[in-house]
Amino acid sequence: MADFEPRIVAFLCHWCTYTGADLAGTTRQQYPPNIRVIHLMCSGAVDSIYVLKALIDGADGVLLGGCHPGDCHYQTGNYKARRRVAILKGILNQMGFTEDRIWLKWISASEGKLFADTVTKMTNDLKKMGPNPMKQLWNA
């Protein structure tokens, strides 16, 4: 498992986490290149379909990044995202799929280091967990 490189798909909100990810770059915080960022306007605009599709089609982990509670640029999108993720995790959990592959993280525009640390930790955790079984089930 040592050379397994997990693939993380991240959905980041425009205002906080995407900007935080930029700040990680501006301040040259280093983190593993396992992540692919998809930019959306709000964490409340991440459909469960995206998350599930990512996991089934080949991602080992999915990261949702949004503004801290109370900070959502669109008032309450992050609270709605949180519920959505809770429901999704509940469903997957009940079906014997480990929910730890879905991460919800509040990262503000000024938390570049937190973004870098989050990706680092998530990559390491996923390495320990091994490849996502879900994607393999659908191979021929």
Partner: protein, 1010 residues
């Protein structure tokens, strides 16, 4: 130096100081159609705002809302991007000549030695710079080079050279690929012409060394609150984990010492700095969140959280965070030699001395006026108050002593962010009124018409920029070029050196023309850096700017995976693939416009409402002023003198007269609102007047529906005629009531109907009210005994000096606790008040010829109104703002504003500021013929919609409505902010968002996984 030609004219304004107030004023004036010069003495705009990570009372950031039309981006970026604002960073005002309405201002532009237009922030120069010094940002806890970025988000977004420390070794010049550095840059003088000047000089933190007994500067672990703020910021080196400065260790006990350089005549600071109780409490809470094991102790005199929702915050700090507050006076802070711990000796309320040891001590420093503006103020003829802040008239809070020069924010006195935003807005209103109805168009730029692009087959041009070679260190550009060529529908791929500079932009332009490219992908830095440049270029050639995609291979790839070139290149390729995939599917967006009904409607004709109506009318807009009573005036009718000595009755007369004289205002008395409808772009309000109903169309709505004095339910009020409220006493004094002679001993009780279970908030004005009436009683007869029974004295700001005066004149202040309220008894026909006096440590009994209750403020009953207008109330019944810090007067959906007592308890001066501010914020909407819609609007595929209403419930802006007839959802384009939440609320694909369609996102996802 050569002097350039004069910029600006009589209709423009100069805002000096780009802190929160200055930025707010500039943004609103710009939105109101004014040309604004925004001058800042530092190399970047923002003031103290960039230092703040979390703000009270929400412990959130959220200042990105602070724009005239939230939600928008951070105010710093907004100012940077606004067409009507010209930034003058790193500049100083040298001289002001001319007169109100026609000023000529000489300014000096200091040399920053780095050209912001060419600097790409690759930071190659920082690596080679040999000079390291203390970083000013955050109070000098960190270090920086002589060439540096003031803070990561700084605008102008460019490095700067500090001339004081630069050794001119020239190493940086050698490594700068875009050639942005010029060590020989010289100071330049410039003159601008403006009609009005707005001063937002802000404040300076008190110089803590002045209070030698606290040991700042001598003891390593004594910090100022500015330093502690930096320490707990998530962008600090420890990511906000509070550590001990001397050894970097985790701490167990820290102390906050309040009022350092506040309420302290001994160091020339007799005013209360107003916000230190709150900011320190916030710092303590954040520190405890980061390190739950930390014990925090406050040493304080009175705790003063008197803003909206602040009392709850303070209660939470005690109850939920376990923060300890000790009412005391500090005698000394000693450093223990071995441990560098600090030993605080303090005197408790009962006079007993105690000692406690701490790992670190934070000094909650107060605010002083900016020190370096005295000469300038003198030159302009500006009167400062005794504390050195800008002097203003109580009833004209935005005007200075000089005609045509205005003031906002902390330069007028210490204040928190919500008030600063209000004042910045208020000052903008005053400037707009002064300059008269506007003439300038919002955007003067004309662009060629766009070609029809939507139905063409995508021809994608990909430009891969290596940022002056900087990205080549970790990315293989040839590999990216090769890979990109393989992608479908990509018709052109090209390597660029510096895509943001004119040379390369011209090349892109040429290629678009030559090859018939109809979609562009820029792979390079984040869209945040390059978007504006690219969009300008596109608009200039009739290319729809929404057909440009950005692949962020710099900030989110090359810069963060430096040592992994292979994997980084692979990732960059994926990012380009994703962007190309988006580019294949996006459609051009032409933003719609909605006609603005350029009238305002104000509900409530008290001081705030009349003020708002006047300011809107003075900007040239028609105003409907609705009042339910027979006459205008509201609570102002019952106010007879103020603490600062102004005459509210003459203000009342003046306001009513001005409203009558103003032809643009139509007043409706004895009128109530019975209906309200949101149209696309404007509002429709239905009113009932004595002689019938009427429908009014308007584009902005201001609530000024007021509040009232709480009717006390205790202390024999209503049972004994000698128990009265402060208002009743004020009226007696005003009317020279015969009963006054009976008063030999007056007892005032504070916090009646405030800070209790029924009204769990501070009413803010009662302490001042009590001091005001106490002083009046003493003035009429110095031998009268006046007792004020209080819980905390909250004479914030300059009111503190009157509190001081009252004590000097023999008014006796005795503290009580909520658990031990004063008891009232009638003995031999006389009222007697008994309570425990903590200073004496015993029970005292006071005779009371009159018992005066400082009754709190409560809002009028707004439930019906809130329902009609679709706005929210907070748990206390006041109107709820979109964001307590940054949009303190705004409702969530743009266009509705709150001011006066319906918003929060406040005095006349604050109500005027709020009325002004509401008018300015409304003016930002009314200034335009049409309102431009957001780009990424939601839309509905009606065939798929089953009208379940989930999108309607989820939309925070009221931009979703249900068409009852069709049983289908619709989007109110003018209100949609483009968050996409409704898209996800929808179970199928009926609800979509332009260029963020579900299907589009899924195809991008495919590329991310591949």
């Amino acid at each position: 130096m050569a002097q350039g030609k004069i910029k600006g004219d009589k209709s423009s304004a100069l805002v000096v100081g780009a802190g929160i107030a200055g930025m707010q004023s500039a943004l609103l004036l710009a939105e109101m159609g004014r040309k604004v010069f925004l001058l800042e003495q530092g190399p970047a705009i923002g003031g103290y705002f960039p230092l703040l990570d979390k703000t009270f009372p929400t412990n959130s950031c959220g200042v990105c809302f602070m724009s005239p039309t939230p939600p928008a981006f951070c105010p710093i970026y907004e100012c940077h991007l606004h067409d009507n604002i010209e930034l003058l960073p790193y500049s100083e005002v040298k001289k002001v000549e001319g007169a109100a309405g026609d000023f000529k201002v000489s300014i000096v532009r200091k040399p920053r030695c780095v050209d912001p237009k060419r600097c790409t922030l690759c930071e190659a120069c920082i690596k080679v710079c040999p000079v390291e010094v203390e970083r000013e940002f955050g109070g000098g806890l960190e270090r920086r080079k002589a060439i540096y970025l003031p803070y990561p988000q700084a605008i102008p977004h460019s490095l700067v050279i500090d001339p004081k420390t630069c050794t001119r070794c020239g190493e940086c010049v050698k490594v700068c690929a875009p050639g942005a550095i010029d060590l020989d840059m010289k100071e330049e003088e410039e003159a601008i012409g403006v009609g009005a000047i707005l001063l937002g000089f802000g404040f300076e933190p008190f110089w803590a060394q002045k209070k030698g007994e606290y040991g700042f500067g001598r003891h390593e672990n004594v910090l100022t609150s500015i330093q502690f703020e930096r320490l707990i910021s998530t962008s600090s080196p420890t990511q906000g984990f509070p550590i001990r400065v001397s050894d970097g260790k985790k701490m167990e006990r820290i102390a906050f010492i309040q009022c350092v350089g506040s309420r302290d005549p001994s160091c020339g600071q007799d005013h209360c700095s107003t916000i230190c109780c709150m900011y320190a409490t916030k710092q303590a809470m954040i520190a405890k969140e980061r390190d739950p094991g930390l014990n925090v102790t406050f040493f304080y005199m009175d705790i003063r959280p008197m803003g909206k929702d602040y009392e709850r915050y303070y209660e939470r700090a005690k109850a939920e965070y376990g923060i300890e507050y000790i009412r005391s006076a500090i005698s000394t802070v000693k450093e223990l030699q071995q441990t560098k711990n600090l030993l605080i000796t303090y005197v408790k309320e009962d006079g007993a001395f105690e000692e406690r040891e701490f790992d670190s001590v934070v000094l909650s420093v107060g605010f002083t006026p900016p020190q370096n503006i005295k000469d300038l103020a003198f030159g302009m003829g500006l009167r400062l108050n005794p504390q050195g802040f800008c002097e203003t008239d109580e009833f004209h809070p935005a005007k200075t002593s000089v005609n045509g020069i205005f003031v906002g924010g902390a330069f007028r006195g210490p204040r928190d962010i919500p008030e600063t935003v209000v004042e910045g807005s208020s000052a903008a209103a005053a400037v707009a009124s002064f300059l008269g109805p506007n003439s300038l168009l919002i955007s003067t730029q004309e662009y060629p018409a766009e070609g029809a692009l939507s139905n063409e087959v995508p021809k994608i041009g990909v430009f891969i920029c290596h940022c002056g070679g900087e990205l080549k260190e970790s990315l293989s550009i040839p590999e990216l070029i090769e890979g990109t060529k393989q992608l479908g529908e990509v018709s052109h791929v090209e390597e660029m050196g510096l895509a943001c500079l004119p040379e390369d932009l011209n090349q892109i332009k040429m290629k678009i023309g030559e090859q018939g490219i109809n979609r562009i992908v820029i792979a390079g830095c984040t869209h945040r850096e390059i978007r504006k440049t690219m969009e300008e270029m596109a608009k200039g050639m009739g290319f729809n700017p929404y057909l440009i995609e950005y692949a962020n291979i710099r900030e989110q790839c090359a810069f963060v995976h430096r040592d992994l070139p292979k994997l980084a290149t692979e990732k960059a390729m994926a990012l380009i693939r994703m962007s190309v995939e988006r580019a294949r599917r996006i459609q051009p967006i032409r933003k719609g416009n909605q006609k603005v009904e350029r009238k305002g409607l104000v509900v409530g004709g008290g001081v705030a409402g009349m003020t708002a109506a006047l300011r809107m009318a003075e900007q040239g807009y028609g105003v409907y002023l609705i009042e339910k009573e027979k006459e205008l005036g509201g609570n102002l009718k019952n106010s007879f003198y103020t603490l600062k000595g102004s005459d509210p009755q003459s203000l009342l007369k003046d306001l009513i007269q001005k409203v009558k004289d103003q032809p643009s205002i139509r007043s409706y008395l004895e009128t109530e609102v019975i209906g309200f409808e949101k149209k696309n772009g404007h509002y429709q309000t239905k009113i009932r007047r004595p002689n019938g109903e009427e429908i009014l169309d308007h584009g902005a709505l201001v609530f000024a529906t007021g509040g009232r004095e709480v009717t006390p339910k205790e202390y024999l009020f209503g049972q004994d005629p000698r128990v009265i409220t402060q208002r009743q006493l004020e009226k007696m004094i005003h009317l020279k009531d015969a009963g006054l002679k009976e008063i030999r001993s007056a007892v005032m009780i504070q916090c009646v109907g405030s800070r209790d279970e029924e009204h769990p908030y501070c009413s803010r004005i009662c302490c001042g009210h009590a001091v005001k009436n106490a002083l009046k009683l003493k003035e009429q007869d110095p031998s009268v005994q006046v007792y004020v029974l209080y819980r905390d004295v909250r004479t914030y700001g300059f009111y503190e000096t009157y509190y001081h005066e009252a004590r000097g004149k023999g008014v006796i202040f005795i503290r009580y606790d909520l658990e031990k309220k004063p008891k009232i008894a009638v003995e031999n026909g006389r009222l007697r008040v008994s309570l425990f006096d903590p200073a004496m440590g015993s029970q005292v009994t006071l005779p009371a010829d009159r018992l005066i209750l400082s009754a709190g403020v409560e809002p009028n009953d707004h439930l019906d109104l809130a329902k009609i207008f679709d706005v929210d109330l907070n748990p206390d019944g006041f109107f709820m703002e979109a964001n307590p810090k940054s949009a303190p007067l705004d409702s969530v959906d743009r266009g509705k504003f709150f001011c006066g007592l319906c918003h929060s308890p406040n005095g006349i001066e604050d109500a005027i500021s709020q009325g002004n501010a509401a008018a300015a914020r409304a003016g930002a909407i009314l200034a335009k013929e049409t309102v431009e819609e957001k780009a990424y609007l939601a839309y509905v595929i009606k065939r798929l919609c089953c009208g379940c209403g989930l999108c309607v419930t989820t939309c925070p802006y009221g931009a979703r409505v249900l068409n009852e007839e069709e049983v289908k959802a619709e989007v109110v384009d003018a209100l949609c902010q483009g968050c996409g939440n409704c898209v996800v609320a929808c179970r199928n694909a009926a609800s979509q968002q332009r260029n963020f369609e579900k299907g589009l996102n899924l195809t991008v996802l495919n590329e991310a996984i591949d």
